[in-house]
Symmetry: C2
Subunit: 198 residues, 2 copies
DNA sequence: CCTACCGATCGGTAGG
DNA sequence: CCTACCGATCGGTAGG
């Protein structure tokens, strides 16, 4: 018995779950959900594929667990910032993403795959984009009310524009094998919309 | 013998090839290249799957034929326009794309899938983006030389920005089931970069 | 263009 | 957590 972890068996199960999630993120990002195999994820995680199905009962459950896990981690990033400050935080998010190719790949590949209405992650991404665009729109609206926005900026259009810009830059960044910098493009865009320097 | 088509056999072969290409575009767009099956494309085209392989020897050959076919059709759109005029034409392209969901789906899904270096279309999309961004950059540069651009517009960054914007809007448009209009967002963006009205 | 087949691989289950 | 298996499906080939 390990004194430092009296619930060693549970801790081990949680660690294995986490290991499976990490390898699932990597493979879903590389080849997409449909083309990824449970056997490959299981082998990378050091277990058999029925072993994997003990932790996640179906392939779809694994996908949804991956998405929920990512939402949980990234959701913490933007709690408490509003208006102009939230727009500034988005530049930080772009910088952060430049350091985690696997996550960027995952969302780029899955969001495209999930445009198909029968894809198991379709609802997730429809809801996610609705929430994201609405959140960015609110940030623009608040910045506008505070008098920080140039008058020609229209919050609804600006929100869709900014989210699209970030997504599109990620495709280019991945195809260029991360050799370019997404940050200045986003930074210059937001800067041009604000009255005060960013 | 049909007098109006003395090479009826050849014409029929070409029509079947074209039919296969159309169904391949639709299925590759719906589920991606890896998850699409030759049997499904063949069935939709009214032949057996070895029959399909008579026209296209491998799955990869079919993919490359689809991409070459699209490049051939769309390449004609921009011959002869330069500078500000080419930027205006890009707005027309967005409007055109809003009328062909299948094509938009195809390129959105495949470009994301092909960010993986070992994807059979990887080279195609790397080259395609290089060419596209370079072409748009040249349009901005020419517009700048003609004095049509606002001074803060930087052609290299503006080119990556505009291409990213178009790609990102397509993802949102597909997830929203084509219920929104991409044109005003792109139009307003380019308009804000030009001195003269669009 | 077809039928019939190949070996490989898939998600999931049985039974322990 | 395992081995062993299920039926289904894959891309491609043989042979006509």
């Amino acid at each position: 018995m390990d004194v430092k972890s009296p619930r060693g068996a549970y801790a081990k199960g949680r660690a294995k779950r986490r290991e499976i999630l990490d390898h699932a993120i990597a493979l879903f990002g590389d080849v997409g959900y449909r083309a990824a195999s449970l056997r490959e994820i299981a082998t990378r995680s050091g277990i058999s594929h029925p072993g994997l199905l003990h932790h996640f009962p179906t392939k779809e459950a694994l996908l949804l667990a991956v998405l929920a896990h990512r939402d949980e981690v990234d959701g913490e990033l933007f709690t408490g910032s509003t208006g102009t400050d939230a727009l500034r935080r988005l530049v930080d998010l772009v910088r952060l993403n430049a350091g985690r190719r696997a996550i960027v790949e995952l969302f780029t590949v899955l969001s495209a795959e999930a445009t198909a209405p029968d894809h198991p992650a379709h609802r997730f991404f429809v809801d996610r984009y609705r929430r994201t665009v609405a959140g960015v729109e609110r940030a623009y609206a608040l910045a506008g009310e505070a008098g920080a926005l140039r008058p020609e900026v229209d919050p609804p259009a600006a929100a869709r524009h900014l989210v699209a810009l970030m997504d599109g830059l990620q495709i280019q960044w991945l195809l260029e094998n991360c050799r370019t910098d997404m940050v200045p493009v986003v930074r210059a865009h937001i800067k041009a919309q604000l009255k005060a320097p960013l």
